[in-house]
């Protein structure tokens, strides 16, 4: 059951030029959350910005009752969030939304993240690994300094394939090219993907071509985060007129459900 909690900040670190990791104590949220779910954060000072900001669960420590977020500073809300200091509080609603589907033990999962889209995949990697799946994680970034999830993924112990645009680490080029060139489809039972929509569209094509089941995590502006305002609706493939709510019916959707911007 989602809750509204004021979480005590334990750690807040800048992990790249514009990315931060924020860990705070929030037992109510940590207790029941699933990979792919998100929290709705109020970072505002004096209600500016007005609305909460959705951020994925990047990692969860159920024993400690803490969650960790990975976020990129892109505007007012994330900018203000980055000023919060340890011992201050974060106002969070969560866990919200429908997360990634589980996978049976010994199956192989391919996790493909673009940029800060790696966020929900790290917690997913931890849970899948723990459940005995084989996990391969691909992360596409501009340069090696943005491979911020590396320490955690190593710690979890999954296979990690970085792709950098400048070739400063791993595969040189687009993450989607790495998938095309280096992944043999028959090894993969399920693809989980999060990143810019054009990237997710290409990964979806790859999955479809090779008949691999796949899920993607979508973004849309959100107001309520709980399915009440219908603000985050996106058109579904099933029908010209049907909309689903990213916040409640998603953010994770099967690639068969949702139409992506290319």
């Amino acid at each position: 059951m989602p809750v509204l909690e004021n979480g005590l900040v334990l750690r807040h670190m800048q992990v790249s030029r514009d990315m931060y990791e924020l860990e705070f104590i929030t037992p109510g949220i940590a207790r029941e959350c699933q990979p792919g779910q998100f929290v709705h954060i109020r970072s505002a000072l004096e209600n500016n910005p007005l609305l909460r900001r959705p951020l994925s669960l990047y990692d969860v420590d159920k024993k400690l009752g803490s969650i960790t977020l990975l976020y990129k500073v892109v505007g007012k809300g994330t900018n203000l969030l980055s000023r919060i200091r340890p011992k201050e509080y974060v106002d969070a609603m969560g866990p919200l939304g429908k997360g990634f589907s589980p996978l049976a033990p010994r199956k192989t999962a391919l996790l493909v993240g673009g940029g800060v889209g790696i966020a929900p995949l790290v917690y997913l990697a931890r849970v899948l690994q723990c459940q005995g799946c084989n996990v391969k994680v691909i992360h596409g970034v501009e340069n090696r300094l943005e491979l911020v999830a590396l320490p955690r993924l190593r710690d979890i112990g999954v296979e990690f394939l970085p792709a950098t645009m400048d070739g400063s680490a791993g595969f040189k080029g687009l993450v989607t090219d790495l998938v095309q060139k280096k992944i043999s489809p028959d090894e993969i039972d399920f693809i989980y993907c999060c990143g810019p929509e054009p990237m997710m569209a290409k990964v979806s094509d790859f999955a479809r071509e090779n008949n691999i089941a796949a899920e993607i995590s979508m973004e849309e502006y959100m107001a309520c985060g709980v399915g009440a305002c219908l603000g985050c609706a996106r058109k579904m493939k099933s029908s010209d007129d049907e909309y689903k709510k990213i916040c409640k019916d998603g953010p994770v959707f099967s690639i068969d459900e949702v139409e992506l911007l290319k």
Binding site: L51, C224, V226, G231, A233
Partner: protein, 311 residues
């Protein structure tokens, strides 16, 4: 500093809003609280003064294309496009649940013709558990070439009267602020037989995506809500309070108790909070608590002494 001690005797903050009996003077605004159930994890929805549910049309509607919302300075624009499953689904799937929970439900209805409004009203008339009907009259009247009902006093009079003729449930038209003369609209609603007025709906606005060089919203235009519009809402309620006798449900940008009291002071009988629910899902309860504290710390027994006191 306010006294934080527990009140000896609980204050009675219940209000009669033109026949709509509210447990306390804070309602949650239509379209911002779904059917109440969406927020059940966070608040006891039966304790809310009134839950004004999502706008309901005769037939199901799918709504506008994305994006549907965007934040603006101290506000937000929405262009949901009245997505809803239609009045039948509301009655069959949502209303019984809300009734059972003891929620004070105000239905919010919208139509494209006077006849549509009347038909929804007559369908609701037979139902138990509807405390009031809020009429969203910021909808385009297809018969009158798409002009909104809410901008023309004659149309307001007609559509309110048509709804009143169909139902014994208290009827509360919700006035659009996008008008030259809000008092004329309020008088027309009063003449049409309205039991109360709800003020204000959103201001029409838009936002532009400078990089894409096109409007942000799929629908181009959207309704502006939130603190940005509070000064306009207060002004209109102040004007209408002086001109008509109907009780007013006041809202537009309420985020805290001071905001809510401003609305009471200009003449609102009760207040509604919309965008504020997104900021803080517990806001309706907290507003009531803070109003109680305010009354106690100022030696007041009820909101009556504040109502309209700014005039």
């Amino acid at each position: 500093m306010r006294k934080e001690s527990v009140p000896e005797e609980k204050l009675d903050l219940s209000v009669n809003l033109g026949g709509i009996m509210m447990k306390n003077p804070v309602a949650v605004a239509s379209g911002t609280f779904g059917y109440g159930r969406e927020y059940e994890d966070f608040v006891s929805i039966a304790d809310i003064g009134a839950v004004i549910v999502k706008g309901t049309t005769l037939e199901p509607r799918y709504g506008n294309s994305a994006p549907r919302i965007i934040e603006t300075p101290a506000g937000m624009l929405n262009a949901i496009g009245l997505e809803n499953p239609g009045v039948e689904v509301f009655i069959n799937e949502h209303l019984p649940y809300l009734c059972e929970k003891g929620v004070t439900v105000i239905a919010n209805i919208a139509g494209n013709t006077i006849d549509e409004y009347a038909r929804i009203a007559s369908i609701l008339e037979g139902q138990k558990g509807i405390a009031g009907i809020e009429m969203n009259i910021s909808c385009p009247n297809v018969k009158e070439g798409g002009l909104q009902f809410g901008v023309d006093p004659e149309m307001v009079y007609q559509v309110v009267k048509a709804v009143k003729d169909e139902t014994s449930i208290p009827v509360m038209p919700k006035l659009s602020p996008n008008v030259s003369d809000i008092v004329a609209i309020a008088r027309a609603a009063e003449a049409g037989g309205a039991d109360a007025l709800s003020m204000i709906n959103t201001l029409m606005g838009m936002a532009v995506d400078v990089e894409k060089r096109k409007p942000v919203l799929g629908n181009i235009f959207g309704g502006l809500s939130g603190p940005a519009i509070k000064p306009v809402a207060l002004r209109m309620i102040y004007q209408v309070y002086q001109a008509v006798k109907l009780p007013i449900l006041g809202g537009g940008g309420i985020l805290n108790c001071t905001d809510a009291l401003e609305f009471i002071l200009v003449g609102a009988t009760a207040v509604s909070v919309g965008t504020g629910n997104f900021v803080n899902p517990c806001i309706a309860r907290e507003l009531v608590e803070d109003m109680e504290k305010y009354l106690l710390s100022h030696g007041l027994k009820s909101l009556e002494e504040l109502r309209g006191a700014a005039h």
